[in-house]
């Protein structure tokens, strides 16, 4: 059973990076090592004290090494969330060696 990103091409996706960052964009391309190309990308920076910060990034390439999760963004569900009122801890970075 091949696990590829084929079905997500052209779709709006939410990407969680190895450093805990959350990026949202349209998946333009990918390769066998999960390097990805995202267009119209923006980052959602969450924090406990302030509202979600949206940072526009444009055309982005994310190296596969730094990728943790890619998921198709359900725009209906996402529209229900009022980002201004969300307070959340930023995601932890991926630790390949546990301490």
């Amino acid at each position: 059973m091949a696990s590829t990103l084929e079905e997500l091409i052209g779709k709006k996706v939410s990407v969680i990076c190895g450093d805990g960052r959350c990026l949202i964009g349209t998946l333009k391309g990918y390769d066998q090592v999960q390097n990805i190309v995202l267009s119209e990308t923006h980052e959602r920076a969450f924090s406990l004290d302030s509202p979600v910060e949206l940072i526009d990034l444009g055309l982005y390439i994310v190296r596969g090494d730094n990728l943790a999760i890619i998921g198709e963004l359900d725009e209906e569900e996402d529209a229900k969330v009022d980002l201004g009122s969300v307070r959340a801890e930023p995601l932890k970075p991926v630790m390949h060696t546990a301490l």
Partner: protein
């Protein structure tokens, strides 16, 4: 099959395993975040692709795992090595 994946960033996801590859990259459908769902970062996601390198553990339902079969298979994998060591 329904599984739970614990990731190296301490997130726990549950969902139905759609596919898996040689690197243990996985695709899950109907995903939910067990890790206290205080992670709105993953709010709008239903189907996800999880890179194998970020997985710490995969939790399988107890009834789904045939432990004896696994033990036999592992034994057989290790057996040829033992014979060559002896000689």
């Amino acid at each position: 099959k329904h599984i739970a994946i614990e990731l190296k960033n301490d997130l726990i996801l549950t969902g139905t395993l759609h596919s898996v590859d040689q690197y243990l990259n996985m695709k899950l459908s109907t995903v939910s975040v067990v890790g206290e769902e205080r992670y709105p970062q993953l709010g709008g996601m239903k189907n996800v692709f999880v890179r194998g390198s970020v997985v710490r553990y995969i939790q399988l339902p107890k009834g789904e795992v045939d432990v004896e079969l696994l033990q036999d298979a592992t034994r057989k994998e290790n057996a040829p090595k033992k014979i060559s060591e002896k000689s």
